[in-house]
Structure formats: C-alpha cells, structure tokens
C-alpha cells in the first residue's frame, strides 16, 4: 500500500467549509431574525402632524388584512438588509467551487531541520531547508478556512514549532524561524510526536493544543531529504504521511552519466555501510546514489596503553562522490577559554579518497596533561561544509576520589593501588572509627567523593556518593534486608551488567559466610546463590549502591577466595569506571549535536554556564536531582565550554560533532528513480512500519474560493440600500 494520495478528494461543484462552529452559527442565525424583529420594533418614527389621520387609519385597516406579509414584501430596505445578511452568512459557510472536498483538515508540516538540510545542491543556491520551507509554504497557502495546520521541526528530536492554528501569517512566520541544526534525523521522534496528536487513544496530554478529532485524520507532510532510518514496528494509526522529497531528484539506475557503482544495484557494499542503514537494508539492493560530499565521520582520541601521557587522534573520512578526492586534513588547536575557532596549525595529512570509500587518518599529539581543544578540517569544497570539520576536546585527566572505609584489608587496598587503577583513582583509606569524624562527614555530605567503599563496616549516614559495600548493607533505610547464611554457592551472575564486565570466574569460588539479600525495589541482582541473591546494584536518587553480601576477610582469615581470582581486580576496576565516573575524567568524550548531553563535573555549585565557540552563552543549566547537568541547547557542532566560575580553571570543555553517516550522505531517499520497475520500486521508499511511503513533490490543490464574490454582492447590496435610503426610491 502506498500512502500519501489517500486524501486527494473527489472534485465536486460546490462544497462548504465554514470556519465557524455550530454555536457560532446559532448566534449568526439569529441576526436576520433580529433584523426582522427590529424592523417591527423600530422606535424612531418621524412624527408628522397631519390634518386628520382618519383616512390613513382607514387605509391601514385595509392593509391589515394581510399586513404582515404586505409590510415585509413592500419594505425594500428590509429585503435588502436581509439579502445582505443572508449573503454574508452564505459567504461564511465557505463555499467553494471545484475544490478538494474536505472538511477542516488537520495538517502537520514536519520540517526536517537536520544537518543535511543545510546542504546546497547548487552553488549558489538555496539550502534544502529553504526548499522545504518553500514547499511547506505552498501547503500553507493552499490551506482553506477550517483547516488547521501545525509545524513540527525534527532533527534528532522533534519539537512543535507552532500548535494547530488556522492563522496563516503565524504559520509563515514560524516556518521562517526554523533554521538548520547540526543534528541527525530521527523519523521515529516526529512520528511519535504526531501520533500523540493524531491518535488520541495513544497519547492524550491535556493542553497539547487542539487535539485532532477522531474523525479528522491529520495529514502529515514530511519535508525531508530522507536522511533517516526506516521506522520498523511503528503503527501509523490514522496518520497519513506524505513525504515531500527535497533535494536533487534521483537518477535512474544505469542512466548515470558518471557510471561506476551508481549504476550497479548490487555493487559497492561499503557504500551500503556508508548509507548507514544499520544493516536493515543490507542486501535490499538499493542503489547508493552518489552525492557531492566529503565528510569526517569519526574523530576520537586514545591514550597509548604503553605511554598514557601520549594521546593519539584517530579519524575517519568518507567520500560520497563517485569520483576520487584528494584533500588535506589539518589539525588545529585552541587554547581553552579563548573564543574563536582553533587556529593554531599543529599538523596536516594528505588524504586520497577513492570514490565512495572511507579513509582513516591519525595524528600523534605527544604528551598532554592539560585540557586541549582540537579541530580537524578538510579543505574540500562540497555541498555540506558542516561535516568537513570535527572537534575534539581532550580533557584534563581527573582522578576519581575513592574513600575506603575498612579494617585494613590488604587485598582490597592492593587492588586499588595497581598500575591500571592508579591513574584513575585517588584512594583515601580510613579506619572505621574515623567515619564519624566531622571532617569526613562533611566531605561525604558535600559529595567530595565519587565512591565510598564499605569493607565490612556499615556506614551510618547516607553519603552523597556511590557506594560499594562488602559484607554489610549499604547505609540508608532503602537498602533492603538480609539474613546470614553459611557457605552459599554462587550459581549465576549478571555478565551483562557493566560492573561484571569481563568477570567470568565466579564459578567455584568459596564463601564461608555471607548475607542473602532481599534487594530493594528496582534493584538489579548481580550474583545469585543457591540460597538467594548475594549481590545487587540499586539506584538511590542519582547514585548507585552496590552491595556484595559477603565480606572479603573475617578477622585475619579469608572469608572468600574471590580476591585471589582474576575477576576481583576486574570487578574493582569496573566499579571505579562505572561508579567513579572515571571514564569522563579521561576527557575524550564526544557528543552528537542536538542530543542531550549529561555532564557530571565535580564542581561545588549547582549551576553551569555553557558557552559556544564564539564565547556566547548558550545555556545555563542547573544541577538535576541526579547530580548531573543536562545540556540541551548544544545544537551546533563545535567546542563548548562549561563554566562554573570566572576563573580559567573553573571551566571544562566538550566537543559536539555531527558524525552521522546518514546526514553526510546527501542522496535523496524516498523517491523512486525513473525507470525502476514497479516491483523494485518499494526498495527506494521510506518504510514506516510495514508501509513504504512514496515521496512526491507537492502540487498545491487549487480551489476556487466562493466566499469573496458573495461578500462583494453583499457589499453591492449595501450600496443599493444606501442609494435607496437616501433617494427614497419606491418606499
């Protein structure tokens, strides 16, 4: 089934679409009635003195035989007034000739504002977003009275630009306000948003504008270049999507003048990967259509394992053209806290890219102990300049602060002092009695530590930190209950949990005594024994409590032989990485534009100000209940700095990149190239659920509006009435 043309109505000679509802019509219907009543109730009669009213009375009595009808029939002014009002009412019914027979349509105009919409297909020429706006404007212009339209812009996330309204001016203004973002595209986002409005049984939020009624199925116009994944398993409900393809029309397979892989449906498997359809269309035989773009698809940094001070930059560039490209990738850097693009050239590499192929590149940066901000730029002219640059921030390595409260367990202390752990964590080891030290208590309450390890010592106060407890329940009332057991046997453990990543050797460890735990609600059991759960991970308002139900030592003796296994240091390392947020400290994270970015800097305040490359403040974020900062306005690519104070050391930076093979692939999707046989055409279509949706070019429905000639006639009647009244013609 091909959707999209379902609503094109049968042309009928006359149809009506009034912008007024029944209530308004009831009121309006009273207008002519009121005129007639007022006509009879006319109070301002001109008094005229006459010799005698005898003959007049007699004449009136004669007329009274059929006076009501006579008066109405003979009163030209009244008739004209009634005709005037009648015509106005008729005009308000919104009659039209030869139009689409439709009744108050609901239109949802979804504008793709993703990065690829910023591409210019001709140089110079309008961007694809401009084309999409022009197409959407046609739909708005074709709106008729009673139609309601809503504009949704979607990139990675969909947002409602303007709620259902019939105000064309507002729609046009809001349409113009949409600018291309640097984000990817998610069709599912916009479909779910529209489905919520279109299918009230799915979601119905109060105050979400005019809820489209069940009888009027909204038409969803997707103005996009198709740079998104299919949406499998999504029920359209009563949405009627119409994809309006923006961008150059696709070429028929085999008709390409550039030849090469473009004409071979089965060719270029790498190109398939470049389209990035997550393998869902691998083998579907879609012809990868070349587009004029060269893009950096990845840029990351890694510290060498042997020399952790040294950092390597690794990147990948893809050529979407079906011609080879030779270009230069330049690495530039910028000092932190200084606005402007990175401009200090550090290194450059020459890249030779075969048609539709990937190429990796690498920069060695040497040792770097301070935060550094980098940009890689390709000097190539293509349709989408956005993805020719990539940004990277290598943060200052921050060590996780760990508080170990215990009885001097050597195994645990040693495990926290290995080569792998040392760069990650700064461990403070205290004895049990110091736990009630005011300084320690204050530090715990202030969240100075990332992780508190209770080694057989029960904490009294709930710390503002993640906890890891051995042999005791974590502090707090929500920690569940436990009962002591003897020699529990480990049966199963959750290898999918990040804490137990690579931990394989639980089988056969011996445990002398332990606690079988009753995990609190929502907790995830990590280790299951024959007598019950032995370990769990529970969330506590942004923090994680991990409880291992058996102690490591008991007095001077082993309680378990687990510390002697390989899995134990791995578990501790995982705990430091996951619970201690150690990975962030390595500062080589990169974020996608438009996505919500969670920052967890260890800063004293609850407020973070985000500045973009030019030093403009983008956003001020407050610390959430979970202790993190959610940055939502980083919509452009670039380097952002998050500052919590005025000093240069009170800021940290993060990089936002496109890194989306779909966006960088500028070939238009959703339109069947000419010459493709019908049975193969479906492959080219965008698939939502099980329905491929054909894209098309909008042709504005032409409808002859009938209200204005009626209004003109009504105006003419007013003029005639004016003439009659002033000249007293025949009254």
């Amino acid at each position: 089934m091909v959707l999209g043309f379902a609503v094109v109505g049968q042309a009928v000679p006359w149809s009506f679409s009034s912008p007024l509802n029944a209530g308004a019509w009831m009121v309006l219907a009273a207008v002519p009635l009121g005129i007639v009543l007022l006509y009879f109730l006319k109070l301002r009669r001109r008094p005229v003195l006459v010799p005698s009213t005898m003959l007049w009375k007699r004449s009136l009595e004669d007329l009274h035989v059929n006076s009501l009808f006579q008066r109405l029939r003979r009163s030209l002014l009244l008739m004209l007034q009634l005709a005037f009002v009648g015509l106005l009412l008729l005009a308000l019914t919104g009659p039209r000739v030869q139009g689409l027979a439709r009744q108050g349509q609901r239109l949802v105009l979804a504008i793709d504002e993703s990065a690829s919409m910023g591409a210019r297909d001709g140089d110079p020429g309008p961007t694809r977003l401009d084309e999409a706006k022009a197409e959407a404007r046609k739909v708005i212009e074709a709106m008729e009275p009673g139609d309601l339209a809503m504009i949704v812009a979607f990139g990675t996330e969909a947002r409602v630009v303007v709620q259902y309204t019939a105000d064309k001016g507002l729609l046009r203004r809001q349409l113009d306000s949409i600018v291309a973002t640097d984000s990817g595209t998610s069709l599912r986002e916009v479909l779910e948003l529209v489905a919520g409005l279109a299918n009230p049984q799915k979601y119905l939020e109060p105050g979400e504008g005019v809820v489209a009624s069940e009888v009027v199925a909204p038409r969803l116009f997707l103005f996009t270049d198709g740079g998104f994944a299919d949406v499998p398993g999504f029920s359209l409900g009563n949405i009627q999507p119409e994809v309006v393809a923006v961008g150059p029309p696709p070429r028929a397979p085999g008709s390409g003048d550039r030849g090469g892989a473009g004409s071979d449906p089965a060719g270029d498997p790498e190109g398939m990967a470049g389209i990035g359809t997550d393998g869902t269309e691998a083998g579907s035989g879609i012809v990868p259509i070349p587009s004029d773009n060269v893009a950096i698809l990845a840029l990351s940094a890694a510290r060498r394992a042997e020399t952790p001070e040294e950092v390597q930059l690794l990147g990948r560039v893809r050529n979407y053209r079906d011609q080879p490209v030779v270009c230069r990738a330049a690495l530039l850097s910028r000092a932190p806290g200084r606005p402007g693009l990175p401009d200090t050239l550090i290194d450059a590499v020459e890249l030779e890219l075969a048609p539709r192929s990937d190429q990796s590149f690498q920069f060695d940066l040497g040792s770097s102990e301070t935060e550094a901000q980098y940009m890689v730029r390709l000097d190539v002219e293509d349709a989408l300049p956005l993805d020719n640059t990539a940004y990277l921030v290598i943060g200052q390595p921050r060590r996780t602060r760990v508080l170990l409260v215990g009885t001097g367990n050597r195994f645990l202390a040693d495990t926290l002092d290995t080569e792998a752990v040392r760069p990650l964590a700064e461990v403070t080891n205290i004895a049990e009695e110091r736990l009630s030290d005011p300084d320690i208590e204050r530090e715990l309450a202030a969240g100075e530590y990332d992780l508190v390890i209770y080694d057989g010592v029960a904490g009294k106060r709930v710390p503002q930190a993640n906890t890891l407890s051995f042999g005791v329940l974590p502090p707090g009332t929500d920690a569940g209950r436990a009962r002591p057991v003897e020699a529990p046997l480990v049966l199963d453990w959750d290898t999918a949990h990040p804490l137990l990543q690579y931990v394989r050797d639980f089988a056969g460890i011996g445990i002398r005594r332990g606690l079988v735990l009753e995990p609190p609600t929502g907790a995830r059991v990590l280790i299951e024994s024959d007598q019950g759960p032995l370990a769990y991970a529970a969330t506590r308002s942004g923090f994680v409590d991990v409880c291992v139900g058996f102690g490591l030592i008991e007095g001077q003796e082993f309680n378990t032989n687990w510390p002697l296994r390989t899995g134990f240091p791995l578990f501790i390392y995982n705990c430091l990485r996951v619970l201690g947020s150690a990975q962030e400290g390595r500062g080589i994270e990169s974020y996608r534009a438009g996505a919500t970015i969670l920052l967890k800097p260890t800063i004293p305040g609850d407020r973070l100000e985000i500045f973009d490359l030019s030093g403009q403040r983008v956003e001020t974020v407050e610390r959430s209940a979970h202790g993190s900062f959610a940055v939502t306005r980083a919509r452009r690519t670039g380097i952002y700095e998050a500052a919590w104070g005025p000093g240069p050391s009170e800021r940290t930076a993060f990089a936002v990149n496109l890194f989306d093979p779909r966006e960088s692939d500028l070939s238009t999707r959703g339109v069947v190239p000419p010459g493709v046989p019908d049975d193969e055409a479906e492959r080219y279509l965008i698939r939502i659920g099980y329905n491929p949706v054909a894209a098309r070019r909008i042709e504005a429905p032409t409808a002859q509006e009938g209200w204005w000639p009626l209004t003109l006639v009504a105006l003419a009647i007013v003029l005639v009435e004016w003439y009659v009244y002033n000249r007293r013609v025949a009254v």
Binding site: R46, S52, L55, S59, L60, D62, V731
Partner: protein
C-alpha cells in the same frame, strides 16, 4: 402653515376679484328688486302656486273655501314665497383646517368672504358663523355692501381651534335659526364621527344647503415617505405608518371614497356639493357655485 394666516385677507388681488364678482352678480340680479326673488319654497306671497290636502294643524286662513264649496273637500292654497333671502355661511375653523399652503382656513375665509360679498351686494341677509367643536355665533343680519368691512374683520379675527364636531354645531345652528334660506357649509368634512348627522340636522330645517369641501394639496396628493408617526392635529391621535406604494394607493382610494361619498350623499338629498382644493382660485369656485345654483349659465 401658521404664518400664512397672518396675511391680511383684504389684499388688493382679493379685492379685485371681489369687484369682478360684484359685476358678475350684478349682471345676474339686474332688474330684480328686493323681495322679488322667487323662492323655491312655498310660502305666503300672493302668487298662487298649488293646492294640497288639508291636514290637521294647517292654518285655516289658507283654506280654499271656493273649492270646499264646490267639492266639499278641504284644500289648502299654497303660494310661492317671496322672501328676504337669508344666506348663512358656516365656516369650519377646526384645527384640521389650519393646514395647506395657503391654509384651508384662509382659503375658506376667502370663500366665505366672497360668498358674503355676493350676498351683501344682492341685498340678502348674510350671516356668518364659525364652526369647530361647537357653533361660534358670528355676524348676523348683515345687509348691504357697506357691511363688507365687518365681514372681513370678523373673518380675519378667526383662528383655528378645537376639534371639529360638525354635528354639534349643526344642531345648535338648526335650533337657533328657524328661518329659511340658503346655508353654505365650508369645511374639509374630516370629521371622524362623519358628516351625515350634521347635514341631516340642517336638512331637517328645510334649508337650501350647499357644502363646499376644501381639501389641501397635502391631503389630495400626500408626499410622505418613510416610517412615520402621524399625529392628528385635532385629537392628537397617533397612527404609525410605513409609507409604501400600497398604502398610498389605499389612501387615494379612501380619499376618493370619502369625497365621492359626500358628493353622492348630498346629490341624493338635493344638496349641492363642491370639492375644491386650496390651490384652486376661489373666484372660480364662486362662479362654480353660482352656476350650480342656476343663477348664471
């Protein structure tokens, strides 16, 4: 309308017309002596007119004893009456007369003055009374041209007042004036109670009656438009009308019916009736009247 009445009745034009009337009437009555005029009425002159049967109460002096001697039946001799002609003019001065350009009242005054003038110059006994809601006795027993100034000054002093009640006035007139003669009623006959009772009172007195109905141009051809509240000048009665062609047509029909009804009623009873509008020159009206009276041809 009200301003018109302040004009003197005796303007030069009016006087000229009166002079012409005098000539005309002189020609008519030339050679006739006072008292020579033959009345249509049977009276007490010496000239025998007819016989009729005696009925109880008849004057025995008029019995024809010769016939009685011959036929043994009582017959009464009737004689043509030679009389001193009494000319009574009843002028309607009700408020409804105060309309028109010139007002109907002014026009009526001119008519009354002219008639009185004709009567005076012919040595008739002329009497003028004003009629509104009641009879205002005016001048009586005037004779001779020299009395004309009294007539004019009396007429000039008349103003429109009160509602018209022709019947009451006619009854009063009939009660007080037993004498015979000519009675001319000048009125618009716009009496909601009807003109018939009034004329019947006068008829009952066996008077030689003529009615002159004066209507203004506004009544004959009303030029009203729009939605109006008509106020009756006499009783203040209000009638709301929306002027339409249908209504105007009805009005004209009613007016015709009213006028022709009066004429027909009068004709049937031997009453002379003349319709005139205030636009018609009054001297022509007088000539019409005289022609109708058979005094001129």
């Amino acid at each position: 309308m009200a301003g018109v009445t302040s004009e003197p009745l005796l303007d030069p034009e009016f006087l000229t017309k009166l002079e012409q009337l005098e000539l005309v009437s002189r020609k008519i009555f030339v050679g006739r002596m006072k008292g020579e005029r033959r009345s249509k009425r049977r009276g007490s002159s010496v000239e025998f007119a007819d016989h009729r049967n005696y009925t109880v109460g008849d004057d025995l002096r008029h019995l024809d004893w010769n016939v009685y001697g011959r036929l043994d039946k009582l017959f009464l001799k009737l004689f043509l009456e030679e009389e001193d002609l009494h000319v009574s003019i009843l002028l309607d001065t009700s408020l409804s007369m105060d309309f028109g350009e010139p007002t109907k009242l002014r026009y009526g005054k001119q008519v009354a003055a002219a008639l009185a003038f004709v009567g005076l110059v012919n040595h008739d006994r002329v009497r003028i009374d004003a009629v509104s809601s009641r009879l205002d006795e005016g001048l009586s027993g005037l004779r001779g041209r020299s009395q004309m100034w009294r007539v004019v000054s009396y007429l000039e002093g008349l103003t429109a007042s009160g509602a018209s009640d022709l019947a009451a006035a006619a009854r009063a007139f009939a009660a007080r004036h037993r004498g015979k003669g000519v009675v001319i009623v000048v009125s618009d006959f716009m009496d909601k109670r009807g003109y018939e009772p009034a004329l019947r009172y006068l008829l009952a007195r066996d008077l030689d009656l003529t009615v002159i109905q004066v209507l203004s141009q506004e009544e004959l051809e009303p030029e009203l438009t729009g939605d109006l509240r008509l106020v009756d000048a006499e009783d203040g009665e209000e009638t709301e009308i929306s002027v339409s062609p249908a209504l105007l047509k009805r009005y004209r029909e009613n007016l015709d019916r009213h006028v022709s009804g009066l004429r027909e009623w009068c004709t049937r009873r031997g009453i002379g009736s003349i319709l005139t509008s205030n636009q018609q020159p009054f001297d022509r009206l007088i000539l019409d009247y005289l022609r109708q009276r058979g005094l001129i041809r």
